[in-house]
């Protein structure tokens, strides 16, 4: 990504100016703090001292899961209207007739959304430092969890950007982006559960093929990847890629989705004269 990308600079200027960005970031950190505070309160009042003394073991996953949930909600809104809003406010023609290459537009717009996402992730660092200091979680695992969140954010931003090139109305692009994210994080586990339920009805238990499919679907889910990382989800004997950590395949799958989304966005913008 070229840091001197004019679109990126312009987007940063407009996004960071005014109260909106400040309020979103403050709200994000406040929500996280509030949830952490409540969980800690419940723990300290109800759990035995041994649990409270290693509260980080519970607080860190809570913080990461809540952040992952927030990323699922806010990442699409960052870039789903990137192109549609330019079309709606009648500035897209001016952008197209300039000397900006499609790649400049794609990386400028997606980069601006990502930079804001990065800002929210950085905003949560003091909180994660606090929960980690309470013990129970390895620093490496926290770092990998952040990588999973970052890659998920990149993927959702890229997919949302692709929708914004495909759909004229910004609000529809937002909806489609949200549905895509919901499909990726909820429909895949739902499908996995469906297969598991189906397999349990078979006499003699599920076949190895079924188990493989269920675990393959699970490998596409960032929540499963984080759960594997922080709680150590057990892997059945002989399942495909048994020795490969879930987060690695999940990150690779999401990077693949990102590459595909960016590729289709580029193709769409290269053919802009056919659909404008």
């Amino acid at each position: 990504m070229n840091i001197s990308n004019p679109i990126l600079i312009k987007e940063m200027r407009t996004r960071m100016r005014g109260r909106r960005s400040f309020l979103v970031l403050t709200g994000y950190v406040l929500v996280l703090s509030l949830i952490l505070g409540l969980v800690y309160l419940v723990l300290s009042n109800n759990a035995p001292t041994s649990v409270v003394s290693s509260a980080g073991r519970y607080l860190t996953p809570v913080l990461i899961f809540v952040q992952m949930g927030l990323i699922c909600l806010i990442a699409p809104t960052f870039s789903a209207s990137a192109i549609s809003s330019e079309r709606e406010q009648e500035t897209f023609d001016l952008l197209v007739v300039s000397l900006a290459r499609p790649s400049t537009i794609v990386f400028g717009k997606v980069g601006a959304s990502l930079s804001y996402l990065l800002l929210t992730l950085f905003g949560s660092l003091p909180l994660i430092a606090l929960t980690w200091s309470l013990g129970g979680v390895a620093l490496g695992d926290v770092a990998i969890a952040y990588l999973v969140m970052l890659v998920a954010g990149v993927t959702y931003c890229s997919m949302s950007f692709m929708w914004s090139t495909l759909v004229r109305r910004g609000v529809f692009a937002q909806l489609l982006s949200l549905f895509t994210v919901i499909f990726l994080v909820a429909a895949m586990p739902a499908l996995a559960m469906f297969f598991t339920a189906l397999a349990s009805n078979f006499s003699g238990g599920p076949s190895q093929g079924f188990i493989n499919v269920v675990y393959l679907l699970m490998r596409t889910n960032p929540f499963a990847a984080i759960a594997y990382l922080l709680f150590g989800l057990p892997m059945p004997q002989g399942v495909w890629m048994e020795k490969v950590p879930i987060w690695i395949t999940q990150v690779i799958f999401y990077l693949g989705l990102t590459a595909l989304s960016l590729f289709f966005s580029l193709r769409r913008l290269e053919r802009v004269r056919k659909w404008l």
């Binding site: 004019p6 005014g18 009648e90 023609d93 300039s98 000397l99 004269r273």
Partner: protein, 318 residues
């Protein structure tokens, strides 16, 4: 690769260009040439095909058929080269309200790859030209509509393009702002730019265009230098008559004559197109006076853009 722009005399060229929206021909077999340094007025009613033609020239749309080139560069196969030499101002455009005026221009300067060392100077120059220097640090959203229009023109000029495509540049402006835009375009003409400017308000163009094209229902009905077209199309004498009292009977009397083609009346002023012998026009004055008209003035006038437009078009809206 197209010709070197410096070697081409006709800067803008359209050859049998057709553009269909589904099955509807918005532009129909249009051929046109605009020479370097020419200020070309593209005239036509709303929906005539002006914007579609300009959008094709601006590389925003592909023609269904035919060939368009600017400065020798083909708009289909060499859009990037075309974009380098054109400045495009659409009829309706948006601005980034959150930016400051200089940031807005800086954004487009960097999109057009204006050398960073020259960027500050270029921004100052276009602000000066469009009379917006005082608004340099103002927020775009605080500008009036006329100022935003001038700002859009400023961004169109930021990379010093050779060709300007201005689609209805003064639409929606009050008379004062209209005059400002007109003066600006006049200044651009003096700078030697090749300008294609569209409008459906004829008086806007009459002042500064060197040539015109009249388009209706997607078809180019006439094009060329204003003098040539006037000579070619307005073979008839235009008469301007002012009468004392009700002009109605005089209009009726004129309409009855076979040598009068068209009569219009605006208040007490009557305009009539006389198709008879120009040397016998005194006979018409005599006829009116005999009929009881109290003629205050009776003058011959040259056909203007409005007369030509009315003569050529059929009032068809595409």
């Amino acid at each position: 690769m197209g010709d070197n722009p410096n070697n081409t005399t006709s800067m803008i060229r359209l050859e049998n260009v057709t553009k269909y929206y589904k099955t509807f021909p918005a532009v129909n077999n249009v051929s046109l040439e605009i020479a370097r340094g020419e200020v070309f007025g593209f005239i036509g009613p709303n929906g005539a095909g002006k914007t579609t033609t300009i959008k094709m020239l601006a590389t925003l749309m592909l023609p269904s058929d035919g060939r368009l080139s600017i400065g020798g560069y083909d708009i289909v196969s060499e859009p990037h080269e075309v974009r380098r030499i054109i400045g495009y101002m659409p009829d309706s455009f948006g601005v980034y309200e959150d930016l400051l005026v200089w940031e807005y221009l800086d954004y487009f300067a960097s999109l057009y790859k204006v050398d960073p060392a020259r960027r500050g100077r270029a921004i100052s120059d276009v602000l000066e030209l469009t009379d917006l220097a005082i608004k340099r640090d103002s927020q775009v959203m605080s500008l009036s509509r006329g100022m935003k229009q001038r700002l859009c023109l400023a961004k169109t000029l930021i990379h010093d393009p050779e060709v300007l495509l201005l689609d209805e540049p003064a639409s929606g402006l009050d008379p004062h702002a209209r005059i400002e835009i007109r003066e600006l375009i006049r200044e651009l003409c003096r700078m030697g730019k090749t300008v294609l400017v569209s409008s459906h308000i004829l008086t806007e163009l009459a002042d500064f265009c060197t040539s015109i094209g009249i388009i209706e229902a997607g078809c180019l009905l006439a094009s060329g230098r204003i003098d040539d077209i006037t000579h070619q199309l307005a073979g008839h004498v235009m008469l301007e008559i002012t009468v004392k009292g009700d002009p109605g009977p005089c209009v009726d009397a004129l309409s009855e004559r076979a040598d009068i083609e068209r009569v219009t009346c605006d208040g007490r002023a009557i305009r009539a197109e006389y198709t008879g012998d120009a040397n016998e026009v005194d006979e018409l004055l005599e006829y009116l006076i005999r009929g009881g008209a109290r003629v205050l003035s009776f003058t011959r006038s040259e056909a203007d853009l409005e007369d030509i437009f009315l003569k050529v078009t059929r009032g068809v809206v595409a």
